[in-house]
Symmetry: C2
Subunit: 338 residues, 2 copies
Amino acid sequence: MKQIVLRAYPQGAPRAEDFAVETLAIPEPSAGEVLLKTYWLSLDPLIRFALDEQRLTGRAQVRPGEVVYGGAVSRVEASNAAGWTVGDWVEGRIGWREYAAIDPQLVPLRKLDCQAAPPSAALGLLGMPGQTAHACMIEIGRVKAGETVVISAAAGAVGSIAGQIGKILGARVIGIAGGEAKCRAVEALGFDACVDYKSPDFPQKLKAHCDGGIDVYIENVGGPVTDAVLPLLKYQARMPVCGFIAYYGIGLEGPGPDRLPGFMRTIMSKGLEVRGFGGALTAGPEALEDLAGWYREGRIKLTEAVVEGLEQAPAAFAGIFSGNSHVGKLVVRVADDQ
Amino acid sequence: MKQIVLRAYPQGAPRAEDFAVETLAIPEPSAGEVLLKTYWLSLDPLIRFALDEQRLTGRAQVRPGEVVYGGAVSRVEASNAAGWTVGDWVEGRIGWREYAAIDPQLVPLRKLDCQAAPPSAALGLLGMPGQTAHACMIEIGRVKAGETVVISAAAGAVGSIAGQIGKILGARVIGIAGGEAKCRAVEALGFDACVDYKSPDFPQKLKAHCDGGIDVYIENVGGPVTDAVLPLLKYQARMPVCGFIAYYGIGLEGPGPDRLPGFMRTIMSKGLEVRGFGGALTAGPEALEDLAGWYREGRIKLTEAVVEGLEQAPAAFAGIFSGNSHVGKLVVRVADDQ
């Protein structure tokens, strides 16, 4: 079997060379363990946090030589653990490897209903990105019919779902994405419009689409995109913070100038509500039920970009940080689930 | 009569030399105007925003040669305006001058009930600082009994009121102020404790007082004080932004490094709710009724520091930004109201 380990802590944006492929024997499950075969890996910007040399939050940490942390969909191949049966589909933080022997009492596994949706959906629409989008739009954003919602990284896993939820809620939804092709793909999901942040007159174009002001801004990126959004926010606008990919890998401080004073001034003078989704979200299981229902009813699309083969994971993960061209949830097909 | 004008835009922290005293004739009120005599001036950190060369928010702007903007309590000396009578006490944005001829249709004036509280209270407890403290603790902070609330600039106009509201709400209230004398004065207002941010082991001392974590942090300062607070915030803590005096006069960008990435990471990973009080607060008049009631019942103290004479206003205003030693609302007695 193959697995992917961290070779060296990435400096800034990760590169494929920061990772290495190893070949080793398939493990034997001990008492209380299951042997899992990986079918799908989740490539998620948040994995970047686990690759910091300095541990800045309570999250998992990967050291050089260790298997890269990340979500996966697997099938139970052998079981020495009560309650787990060969053939069960599960989702959990299995890491970037073809097989794993796991004690389900130590690594939480979620059993999947693969009748309702294909297995890989558990990494996107019916998993963490879907829950995040749900929390940011409903619990934190409190998006109402008729409001104008702007979503950055609209082609990403969270953004593409958030926009579709916005349309279900009756809002006017404007996406922001990089490149005309991505923008058209985002509009095909039902967004009212999508603006290309690479366009030289991006701030003007965004303004033209948000003439009456923005009620809710779903923050996924930070940086110049956010700079263009802030002046358009209404008084007391809501800004759920789902991510800020421009700052991943920067640690707690980036190169100057210090932009915190301007952000605080905007929060204060506009009475903004800026809120993260960390910690225990009350919307967890209810969110998955909502999402599964909307998917069943055909009101929300499962949008995936598939990378073929475990060995492609490092390059595809690095691509997330260099503005790659995928739309929807980025997954790696490690084995064929058909 | 005398008035104080801006001599030059302050660079960073304001200095007394940025202002000049002028002597001129008392104006004659035109048709529709009232002649106001100033008794009390409000010295407020927010005035700093009006003194920026570059206008960054929708607030008032003062150019060199113009009278400095600011709240005042005045008495009507002559009236050519329907509804306004000689002897009426009013509060409004009159500016730093001994007399003013004002059209109440252009400059909003609030009539004061000087039986309920001394006239100067309209600039502190029963004015904008009181409303701000009320909004930050009740509407935005949603402080509940038993919660731990930390208040920066606890000796300031807003902080000193916010802490007293916190005790009325049944919370544990920890203040942060500069210097042992100020801290003891804050504790005399009923705060459970007050920690000196000038102490070399300030972060450790603060942590010792907030062992179970902080539910609500009332942000008045920014900078290193905030850096010490953020790691102590609980998941999903609330952070009402009432001010951030460390950044006033900096404009939108300060000297590097850029601290925004770390702030956004904390918001996201802790699920913080950061919210300003700008824009239309629903709590406006109700807040003043609450505050007047608590004052009447002796549950909240009117805490003022009085500077004598209009000509002292520039130096006292500059002192706000260099960590002066006053406790409570800073006001200037321009004329004796007894």
